[in-house]
Symmetry: C2
Subunit: 351 residues, 2 copies
């Protein structure tokens, strides 16, 4: 159809609730054709599900899927399990809006790091739920809720002395959008907040609401004063394996550890050792080197570990916010305002 050829073709390539797809379809109906084919994607298991990684298309479905991809100018999400390079399958592709923030390693793996493809991410959308999970974990530990539930089952009433978050020092690796949200809430709890980041000048520390911003070479000094250590950094060549035996030993004894960044930032064997020794009192982990977490991981059985199956960022409001962002970016894309599309992945830095 000649009329359609002039339209920008947008393809939704991971599961999205129909109401959000409808909003995208009606945002710029004269200029945009939206391809939304739930029948060619995994079923939605829960709100905000971006797709069962084990699901596969039939060969017939795969042919239809690739015929559609070949027409796409823009994608909402990177499609999974593609047999050939994305730009071969989708030669017209100029923009991908992702549904997660930490997509640097994925873009590298897809061979797109040096391409002209515009990649906008979900950075910021998950900041609130992830920050909430950080405090869920800290308060679960410091208010001894697990022990209280055990005592309740035994109908035991033992008064006790708890611990306050107030006055504790929270240390953050990676003070980006998530970290800033964590700092803001930590302040409300009257905690000190410090972080390690690329650019450690005092002005930036103040802008981030931090008591102190450590440089990258000062990681161990920061760890020594951390009552809790929160990793919200993206996975990059600089953060890969950042925290190992030496770092956990440098940590203040009895600290709490929370990882909502990426599993590859942590040497998991070293973390398990520190938890077994009680040097780290408690860890809450949302991300792992291998996901789903393998059945033989020591974390499953450690009594001082709380495992979240990489769902801390998933909340019922997520796809509404993501769709709002996609529609705003789509407007810029249609008007050629590429530099206003946000937040754009810096493919060199990887986040």
């Amino acid at each position: 159809m000649a009329g359609n050829e002039a339209k920008t073709v947008v393809m939704i390539t991971s599961p999205l609730e129909a109401e959000h797809a409808a909003r995208i379809a009606t945002a710029y109906p004269e200029q945009v054709e939206v391809i939304y084919r739930p029948d060619l994607m995994p079923a939605i298991r829960y709100l905000g599900d971006h797709g069962d990684p084990d699901w596969r298309r039939t060969p017939e479905q795969e042919r239809e899927w690739h015929a559609l991809l070949a027409r796409a100018d823009a994608l909402l999400d990177f499609p999974q399990h593609e047999p050939r390079p994305l730009l071969e399958l989708a030669p017209r592709l100029r923009w991908v809006q992702t549904t997660s923030a930490g997509v640097g390693p994925l873009v590298q793996r897809l061979g797109l790091a040096n391409s002209d493809l515009v990649v906008t991410t979900a950075s910021g959308i998950h900041a609130q739920p992830l920050a909430e999970f950080v405090f869920a974990a800290l308060l679960y530990h410091s208010k001894e809720l697990g022990r209280l539930q055990c005592e309740q089952q035994a109908r035991q009433w033992h008064r006790f002395c708890g611990v306050e978050l107030a006055g504790q020092t929270m240390a953050i690796v990676g003070p980006g959008r998530i970290g800033q949200e964590v700092v803001r809430i930590a302040r409300a709890f009257r905690m000190r907040a410090v972080a390690m980041g690329r650019n450690a000048d005092p002005e930036r520390a103040a802008a981030l609401g931090l008591d102190r911003l450590y440089g990258r070479d000062e990681l161990h000094a920061m760890l020594a004063e951390a009552d809790c250590l929160v990793v919200c950094a993206p996975q990059t060549t600089e953060t890969d394996g950042l925290l190992g035996d030496a770092e956990f030993t440098a940590l203040k004894p009895g600290a709490v550890f929370v990882n909502i960044g990426r599993g590859a930032i942590v040497d998991e064997a070293a973390l398990a050792r520190a938890l077994e020794a009680g040097w780290i009192a408690f860890a809450a982990l949302d991300v792992f080197q291998t996901e789903p977490l393998p059945a033989d991981s020591p974390f499953w059985a450690l009594p001082n570990v709380l495992i979240n199956p990489h769902s801390a960022s998933t909340v019922d409001t997520e796809n509404r916010k993501l769709t709002d962002r996609f529609i705003a970016n789509l407007g810029h894309f249609l008007r050629g305002e590429i530099d206003q599309m946000a937040p754009a992945l810096d493919k060199r830095r990887g986040y």
Copy 2:
């Protein structure tokens, strides 16, 4: 000793760590004699313990204790289990500094409501740990930490969609010092905050950081919009039995209920019914009509209840803060600045 007769006699009448007693003894050594007799009080079971209620003095200890009480001008805490009216046992007594905030009913019970005794309370000291417990409870429920721990034990990895505190409405009964701390943190979590209080004018609502302050006759309207209801009111004739079947039915279905005020504010049978029906999704209870909670209470076995043995306010910093306050008030007391002693119990209002 004649020299001592001119001194103000301060008696510490509930367990206090020796370091804090020493600070009191050295604050005004020329003017004050401090009676600190751990051997005549229950042993300290945990930091901040104000005494095992089951402990009793021997008759010989009791005689010595009463001889000391007879000399006291001021007490740090109301002594427990006294066989005769306090002002008979301690005829010189002019001031009691309590170790808790909600002492209105106790002062009534002791027959001191119409006395000239100055009573200063711990109001404010427990605001921070109690507010922390409120968010521990809300986040435990909304982040499904109990379920996550069960799945972890079964080594199951099931991604899921959670709930955000952001955007929820928190409703507070009793926006005093504790409630204001709760509101401040709720704001950081990007929640709406409303409350019901005596004086519902918009200026006061703004000062408290509230989106809306309901009057006492508007309780049901407030309950209808509450995603979580937090009781931090003191027990008074106005709050006694305030929340019963009608109020829990008026509550938004699926709400979370937290009581850090006093047990007598709640009809416990009505609360148990609302929890069994699932109308209230989850309750965290720090206070009860009878404490310790009787073995036959339905709350022990309800899976959607978290019981705290009235220890949410007890943290390791408590007695340091309390001692600071006592020493400051003692200075005012010695200088006759009675109206500067704070916070004073309003014996008529009961808080």
